[in-house]
Amino acid sequence: MKGSGILGRTRLPEAWRQPLAVAGGVIALAWIVIAIAAPLLAPHDPLAQDLPRLAPPGAGHWFGTDQLGRDILSRIMFGARVSIPLTLLLVVLSVLIGGLLGAAAGYFGRWVGETIMRIADLVFAFPTVILAMVVAAALGASLTNAVLAVLVVAWPSYARVTRGLVLGVREREFVLSGRLLGFSAWRSLRVDVLPNVTGPILVLATLDIGTALLLLSGLSFLGLGAKPPSPEWGAMVASGVDVFDSWWVATFPGLAILTVVLAFNFLGDSLRDALDPRTARAIKERAL
C-alpha cells in the first residue's frame, strides 16, 4: 500500500547530471580522500615546530608557516581528520534524535506532539550560537563538549521538518487504508510514513553538514572547542587574529572550511532540485 508519496521515488541519477552536484561531489570526495590519506599526503608533521616561523607561502611551504613554525598545509590536511568525521557524526546523530522525536510528534499528535514541539520551540527561542556558546561554556571548553552543544541546537530542526512531513502524509489514503487493514501505529509509521519523508530529510541533512561545520568551527574560533595544538580549522583561524600581518595563517584554514561547506551545499541544493517533483521534471528534460 505504498503510495508514490509526496516526493515519489528518489531520483538520484538526475541529481548527478547537474554540474553543481558534480562540482560539490568532487570537492567533497577530495576532502574525504585528504582526511583519510593525510599522513601520506602531508609534507610535514602538523605538530612539529622546527620550521621558520611565520614564513610566507612559497616553494617549501605552499601555505606558509604559523607563529610556532608549523607547516599550515600539513595542519589543514590533518585538520580534515578532526572536522569532517565529527561534523558527519553530528549530523547523523541530529537526524536520528530529531527525526524520531519529530515522527512521534507528528504521528501521535496532541499532547506527545505538543510536548516535544514545545521543547523544540524552546531551543529555537535562542539564536544558535548564543545557546551553543552557553552550553559549551557550561560543559567546559573541549571539542567533545562543543559537539554536544551543537547537537543540542541541531536536533529540533529535524523534529520540526519530520513532524510537518508526517502530518502531511498521515491523513493520506494509503496510510489510512494501512491502518484499516490493521497495521499497528509503529508499523504504519515505519512502512507507510517514513519512506515518504526521507527525501526532504536527506536534503536537510546534506545542507546541514555545512551548517554544523560552520557552527563547530565557530565555537573553536571563540575558544570553546578544540584545544591547541590540535589542528582544528576554526582554532587555526583564531590563531591568525594575533598575527594580522601574516595573512596566510588565518586565510587558508578559512578557505578549507569554505570549500567543505560549499561542496555539501552544492550537493544538498542539487539534491533538493532533483527530489522536488516540481523541478525534477525540468532537470530530466534538460538531461535528455
Binding site: 527561542a125 544558535t128 550560537v129 548564543i130 521538518v161 526532504p200 560552520l214 541544493d269 516540481r278
Partner: protein
C-alpha cells in the same frame, strides 16, 4: 539547526501537493471549518499566550543552564587571597544568594526580573541591566542594518533569479547565494578587516565611531540616529562608515538565504493558473508581480526572515569579536568564558526575548497574510 536548513523547514514542503498559497477571497475563509467565529482574534490570542509561556520558559532555561555550570563561580571571581579566607567566601556566597536552595534562587530571580533587576555582573561589578542597556543598542544597530540590507538585496535577487529562471543571471545568483551561506562569518570578518582596513584603508577600523570623536547624546542608543537627531554630522558619517563593513559581513549569509528562498517561493507561484489569468486579462506586469506573485510568496519569505534574524543575532557574536564592536555578542562571549552567571543569564534572557518577539510578529503576519493558517 539554523536558517540554512530552513528552506525545507516549512509546512509548504509537506503540503506542496495541495498547491501554493493563492489569494483566496476573504469572505469564504473568514470562518473556520467548524464555524468558529473571529478566527484571527483567536489565532492572535493563542499566539500571544504561547509567547508568554515561552518567555517564562526562557527564564527557567537560562536559569537552569547557568546553574548547571560545573565551574565554581566563587573561584572564578575572587582573588587567590580572598579564596583562602572562608569568611570572605561565605560572605560572597550570601551576597550573591548562592546559599539558598535552587527553587528559591529562581523565584528570587523572577521577582528581580519583574523589577528590571538582572543581578550584578561579577566581571564589571555593575548591574547586568546597565551593562545590557549599554550593549544592546550597539547590537540592535548592527543587526537591524544587516537585516534591512539582507531583505532588500535578498528579496530583489530572489525575484530576479525566479523571473529569469535558467538564464545566466539565475545561475550566477544561485552560485553566489550558495557561496554566501557557506562562508564562515568569523573568517570573512577577518578577511574584510584585513583587506579593506589594513591593506586598502577604505573602511575605518574597529569600534562604533572614530577614536577622536565622542558618542552623541544618548536618546535611542543607536549612534546613527542619535547623531542625526543632535545634528552632529561628523559623528553621523563616522558611525555609518564604521557600521557598513560589519553589517555587510553579517548580512552576507542572510542575503544568500533569502535569495534562495525568495526564488523558490516566487517560482512556486509563477506557474499558477491565476497568475496566467491575471496576465491574460491584461493587468500591467507590476500589478501582477506585486499583487499576484509577491503576496502569496511573502508567507514563506517572512518566516525565513524571522529565522534569519536569529542567525544575525548569532553572527554578531563572531563579527563583534573581530570588529571590536561593543555589543551583546562580545559581552556574551566574555561572560560565558569567565562564568559570569548573572551576565550570561541576562544575555540569554534578553536575546531570547528579542527573538521571541520577532517570531511572534512573524507568526502574526503569517496569519494575516494567509487566512488558512489561522484555523489550523
Amino acid at each position: 539547526m539554523s536558517p540554512a536548513s530552513a528552506p525545507s523547514n516549512e509546512p509548504e514542503s509537506g503540503t506542496a501537493v495541495q498547491g501554493p498559497t493563492a489569494p483566496v477571497p476573504r469572505g469564504r475563509t473568514g470562518r473556520g471549518p467548524r464555524g468558529s467565529r473571529r478566527p484571527l482574534a483567536r489565532f492572535l490570542a493563542r499566539r500571544v499566550a504561547i509567547a508568554l509561556l515561552l518567555a517564562l520558559a526562557i527564564t527557567l532555561v537560562t536559569f537552569v543552564l547557568t546553574n548547571l555550570v560545573p565551574g565554581d563561580p566563587v573561584s572564578a571571581n575572587l582573588g587567590q587571597q580572598a579564596l583562602g579566607d572562608p569568611a570572605i567566601v561565605a560572605q560572597w556566597r550570601t551576597d550573591h544568594g548562592l546559599d539558598r536552595p535552587l527553587p528559591e534562587q529562581y523565584l528570587l530571580h523572577l521577582e528581580g526580573l519583574l523589577h528590571g533587576d538582572l543581578g550584578m555582573s561579577q566581571q564589571s561589578h555593575r548591574p547586568v541591566a546597565d551593562d545590557l542597556a549599554e550593549f544592546v543598542p550597539a547590537t540592535l544597530e548592527l543587526a537591524g542594518t544587516a537585516i534591512i540590507i539582507s531583505l532588500v538585496l535578498g528579496v530583489a535577487f530572489g525575484v530576479i533569479a525566479a523571473l529569469r529562471r535558467d538564464r545566466l543571471s539565475d545561475h550566477v545568483l544561485r552560485i553566489a547565494s550558495l557561496i554566501g551561506i557557506s562562508v564562515p562569518t568569523f573568517w570573512l570578518a577577518l578577511v574584510a578587516f584585513y583587506v579593506f582596513f589594513f591593506r586598502l584603508q577604505i573602511t575605518p577600523g574597529s569600534g562604533r565611531i572614530d577614536p577622536g570623536l565622542s558618542p552623541p547624546p544618548q536618546v535611542t542608543g543607536l549612534y546613527t540616529v542619535d547623531s542625526a537627531l543632535a545634528g552632529q554630522w561628523d559623528v553621523f558619517s563616522s558611525a555609518i562608515g564604521h557600521l557598513l563593513a560589519p553589517a555587510l559581513v553579517l548580512a552576507l549569509y542572510t542575503i544568500g538565504l533569502l535569495t534562495r528562498f525568495t526564488r523558490s517561493a516566487v517560482l512556486e507561484v509563477l506557474g499558477q493558473d491565476y497568475v496566467r489569468a491575471a496576465r491574460a486579462k491584461g493587468l500591467p506586469g507590476r500589478v501582477v508581480l506585486f499583487r499576484y506573485i509577491l503576496r502569496p510568496a511573502l508567507v514563506p519569505i517572512i518566516t525565513v526572515a524571522g529565522l534569519a534574524f536569529g542567525s544575525l543575532l548569532s553572527g554578531t557574536v563572531l563579527v563583534e569579536a573581530v570588529f571590536a564592536w561593543p555589543g551583546v555578542g562580545q559581552y556574551a562571549y566574555k561572560s560565558a568564558t569567565t562564568l559570569d552567571l548573572p551576565a550570561v543569564m541576562g544575555v540569554g534572557l534578553v536575546v531570547g526575548l528579542v527573538y521571541l518577539v520577532i517570531n511572534l510578529v512573524v507568526d502574526v503576519l503569517y496569519g494575516v497574510i494567509d487566512p488558512r493558517v489561522r484555523v489550523s
